[in-house]
Symmetry: C2
């Protein structure tokens, strides 16, 4: 019984935080099966050298040789680069990781926040169906298609209700903008409402995406689980992260029915990359989420408790949290407690 874990650091600080996550998993010892790590390529830097952001070999190894994976972060080109397309977006789609689950929880900071953004992860504007045309007078007109299906909306709703049901408050807020997008967001909302019938123990509310961001800043306590189409979920999870001190502590998993990829919510942070300054917490927590998703609850809890202790102590934290500790120092502090 071996647990095979793909590691895709990709760009920037991904190369520093994924090794930290690996160390945390290794520190678990016999709490999980014997592990095997596979180093896999992807990212913008890889694209610049090899012309592919997500090589076939990476996808194939994930599908054929891995039980799960950890993804770091990707840089985006500062102007349009022909042939480049975000590897994490491609990966989510290729492995049908339809749910992006992003718990945002405050430890030492105020206001108290304890919510989960459950983001649909395969469609909306992320289908990347875009066209560019020219009008008669030579002006450019670009179009993108936003796709919302009943199927994916119900899948993500199921996942969101399952998560909500397992939480003390059992409350779900549907995020949409159906006052403008009555058909696409209307379908999302109705699909979630239909799934709601199977979950009578969960209370359901809804909020327009613009109001939700406002409310998040003003009264974050009203939210428990939020279920959102892809782009709104992207924005909301960053907004929520701002409330708990730093994106550097917010983890996520990309989950499907057959595979799971842990991924810190932060980006590749080119400004601090390679300086041993990146916060490893988001990545370490993502590893814990990944393990819990696979059924290793005790192992996940051990990592999470260690992280919480380090954060609550607040002595050894990276610059994003106002501290001076390095990536490795924070990682070591966590490892010692696992």
């Amino acid at each position: 019984n071996v647990l095979r874990i793909g590691l895709i650091p990709a760009d920037g600080i991904g190369r520093e935080v994924i090794p930290a996550a690996r160390q945390a998993i290794e520190a678990l010892g016999s709490a999980i099966p014997k592990t095997e790590f596979l180093d896999l390529d992807a990212g913008f830097e890889y694209f610049q050298k090899h012309g592919k952001a997500l090589p076939e070999a990476t996808l194939q190894k994930l599908k054929e040789e891995c039980d799960c994976a950890m993804f770091g972060s990707v840089s985006s080109p500062s102007t349009k680069v022909a042939g480049y397309s975000s590897p994490i977006v491609a990966l989510r789609k290729a492995m049908n990781l339809y749910a992006n689950i992003r718990p945002v929880v405050s430890t030492s900071t105020k206001p108290e926040v304890d919510l989960v953004v459950v983001r649909e992860n395969t469609e909306c504007l992320y289908v990347k169906q875009e066209t560019l045309e020219k009008t008669a007078d030579g002006k450019q007109v670009a179009k993108a298609t936003r796709v919302i299906t009943e199927h994916a909306s119900k899948k993500i709703a199921q996942m969101a209700f399952k998560i909500a049901e397992a939480r003390p408050r059992k409350h779900l807020t549907i995020i949409h903008k159906s006052n403008v997008l009555s058909i696409t967001d209307g379908l999302f909302r109705e699909s979630v409402r239909e799934v709601a019938k199977d979950w009578p123990g969960v209370t359901v509310a809804e909020q327009l995406v613009d109001s939700a961001v406002y409310k998040l800043f003003r009264e974050p306590g009203v939210f428990d689980v939020m279920v959102a189409p892809n782009l709104y979920g992207d924005i909301l999870s960053d907004a929520a992260a701002a409330l708990v001190g730093s994106l550097g502590v917010v983890p996520s998993i990309n989950a499907g029915d057959h595979f799971v990829i842990g991924e810190p919510v932060h980006g590749s942070a080119p400004d601090i990359a390679g300086q041993n300054k990146a916060n490893p917490i988001a990545s370490i927590r993502s590893a814990a989420m990944m393990l819990r998703h696979l059924g290793y609850d005790d192992a996940a809890l051990r990592i999470e408790k260690a992280v919480d202790t380090v954060l609550v102590e607040g002595r050894l934290v990276t610059p994003d949290l106002g501290g001076k500790a390095t990536t490795q120092q924070v990682t070591d502090a966590v490892l010692k407690l696992i």
Copy 2:
């Protein structure tokens, strides 16, 4: 010389705050030309009675008899209602009010915020081209088209640079998500960058929309003017509003080359409608912005100074700002100072 102002209170607290704005304009006396007010219909409640959310007569009177207008706020139906479509979205398009200008400024509250969201106001997902189909197995698939044109992007860029150039910091941030939407948001970004060549005195930065919301909560001081496609602008202005205490103080204008409509950024707030609790400040400030747009700078300044004084004093404020004053008490306090 008469200034003819259309008044469209529409739904909910719109009916309380538009009269407040009217009183503020009337209090200006001879600082502006003689005014004439035209009461115009629109809104969800009007739709429920008459089957139209934006009657032809309203549009026609705006076009033929008004110099400018004030719009209140619209309620949205809680489930899809056949034939209903948001009147404010329709109005922006019908009058080609391509710029939605939303200054967000803190007075007494921390952190210090002083920024302007310049939102494209006619395209993006707001073109409302949506379709609904069924797959072979009977599942629904909804699609929406997002349109970004070089023409509209350059128009809004011109407006944003003009605004930025007139401010002390002269700094503009382009908001986009071109790491995913390389063609549509790519075109938006490139169009703004091209217009930038004509404004060498303005510094230009850019930020992905998710990071921008994060940054807005963490370091609002980095932003001066933000230019954004329609939907991102909608979300960002609500996010920014949360930083200055309440949506109830944030004004906007919908501006085109030939017409301007003042509009508070808040919604119709059905929970407090009809109770004389709504904050009239956003609406009164929107009236000032509308007047400034028409060239009545002194009149605008008089209203704005009166509002700022009331806010800084902080004695007479509505419940959204933690006070107990009524809509009319706040309005009266402002009127006295105009």
